[in-house]
Structure formats: C-alpha cells, structure tokens
C-alpha cells in the first residue's frame, strides 16, 4: 500500500517535531505467542484487545531524546546481536539496519530484518555520532548538538513622510 508511505507532515517542520512522542513501543516484531501469553481481554477505545505478556515488559521501544546540546536515540534491539546490526548516516538520516539469519527459538525457526531511519535534527554532526549496545540489548546512539545562537535579524524600516501632501496610491 502506497498511501501509508506518504508522510503526513514534512519531517523537519515544527508541527512534526512538537507532536512526536519521545518513546514509542511495538518495535519487536514477529514474536511467537503461546495461548498462555494472552491475558483477559480489556476494552480499549471501544474495542476489545488482549493484553500480551510480551507487551507488558517495557521492551521493544524506540526513544528519541533531543535536547539543546545533545541528541540521543535509544532503540531496543534485543532480537539481534551486535554483529547483526549496522548503523550508518546518509546526509541527515540515521539508518539502523538489522538482519539475522534463520535461528531457532522455542516455537520454530525465524529470520528477521528491519531498517529504521531517524532524521537528525539541525546542529547534529553525523560524524560525531557514537553507538553502543548495552548487555540487555538496547542500542544507544548519541551525539552532541551544537547550540546555534539564533539572533534575530532586525531591520528597522525608515518611514518617509511626504510633506507636500500628495496622495499616492
């Protein structure tokens, strides 16, 4: 479906940046469930949904902290090992790619692949980004952000007064 790929707002606009939640969930995908993982249905916005144990563990998040002087991305990559991940920047885009070949878990064999692109804000140098993965599988990408002193350019306009009383349209 192509309609989903059309952005709803221009990525660098104020509207987009102000409306972005700092942390989103549901980044872990293709997780096998067993019937015991499903809990009693609850009503959510008028629909019944079944809460799942794998959603309750505060995992599978993506978090973007963008302050005045630093920029940091936290991404839960616990489904991948560090050598299955790669991070690169293209202009002001930060691309995190992960793919693992077939691997066995308790339900069967699975292989996964994802690519996530973040948009670096103004003032972040892509060459200064540092990436680390913690032991519990959370990738941290951070860089300092230059504070640009944005002084307003003020131009006082001079008002000409016509003393002769001519009317100009």
């Amino acid at each position: 479906m192509t309609d989903r790929t059309v952005p709803h707002a221009y990525p660098m606009s104020v509207n987009y940046e102000m409306c972005t939640p700092a942390r989103i969930y549901d980044q872990n995908f293709a997780e096998a469930l067993s019937p015991q993982d499903l809990m009693a249905p609850v009503l959510y916005h008028g629909y019944y949904i079944r809460p799942r144990i794998n959603k309750q563990l505060e995992r599978g998040f993506s978090q973007v902290d963008s302050e005045d002087d630093w920029y940091r991305v936290l991404l839960d990559v616990c489904q991948f090992t560090p050598d299955e991940l790669s991070v690169r920047t293209v202009d002001n885009l930060l691309e995190v790619t992960g793919s693992h070949t077939q691997r066995m878990d308790q339900h069967g064999f699975v292989s996964r692949e994802f690519k996530r692109t973040y948009i670096l804000p103004i003032g972040v140098d892509p060459l200064l980004l540092q990436v680390s993965v913690s032991h519990d599988g959370i990738m941290c990408i951070q860089a300092p952000r230059e504070v640009q002193d944005l002084e307003p350019k003020i131009n006082e306009l001079k008002i000409n007064v016509d003393k002769k009383g001519r009317k100009r349209c």
Partner: protein, 151 residues
Amino acid sequence: MAGQGVTISHGISCPVRHKVHFDKTDPEKCKETHHLFALPGPGIGELKLDSKSSTGITGSDKDLGDPLFRILLDVTQFKPEDILIQVFEGWLLVRGQHGTRMDEHGFVSRSFTRQYQLPDHQMQSGDLTAMLSHDGILVVETKERWWAASD
C-alpha cells in the same frame, strides 16, 4: 428471489445490491468462525466445560475442541496483505514484509520469515485456516479438531 438460493438477512436489512452476492452461495460458508475471536487464555478448559453444561451450545460440534496444530504469532506491525502463508513439505512458512512506512520517529521497514514444523508431513494448505485478529494476532490452525468425533 424465491427458489434462487438463500438470502441472508441481518438485523439491518442489507441493500438489494448486496443480497445479490449472497444469492448463490451457501450461507454456511459465509459464517465466520467466531471461536477464533475469543482465543483461549489461561484456564480455558474450565470455561469450555461451563458453557457446555449450562447453556448447551447448539452449534455444530466441529467448532468445539482443540485443533491438531495451532500457532499464534504477534504481527501487530503488519497488515493482512503483507503476510504470506505457505505450506511446503511438512513445514509451515509465514512471511511478513512491509515496505518503508512512516511512523513517529522516522521511517521503518521490516520483514520476517517464520517456519514451523507441521505434525503431518502430508498436510496441505487447504487443511489450515488462518485468521488475523484486529489486535494483531495471527492464528494458523488445522481445520481438524481433536474432539470432533467424541461429541
């Protein structure tokens, strides 16, 4: 309309142009399997016994009982058209792939392949049913059920 087949009428009477589609089909085939909407959680055994003894389900006995094989998969991020289910030589392959799409933090694309070993090597894709529920759980199970004969 008489003699041309069965017309399905709902509580809200559907327009004639919709009734045409149901004229030549078997209403049993149009029936949805609602037992899939209420997937078993912990303690489903007691629930099933209670409902049988007290209310006495009058539906066909085929709906009761556990399937021979059932998998659940969390595919919240995928849409039904992104998911492909194949059966190959006793293996069940579930593939999901969605192209680049925008979300709150940028762009993301994902794909996965999952394989499960089927209990029967001769099993065909016609023996399986799949359903994707609105909260993102994909269920693939066999049409055959354990308790079909015992009832």
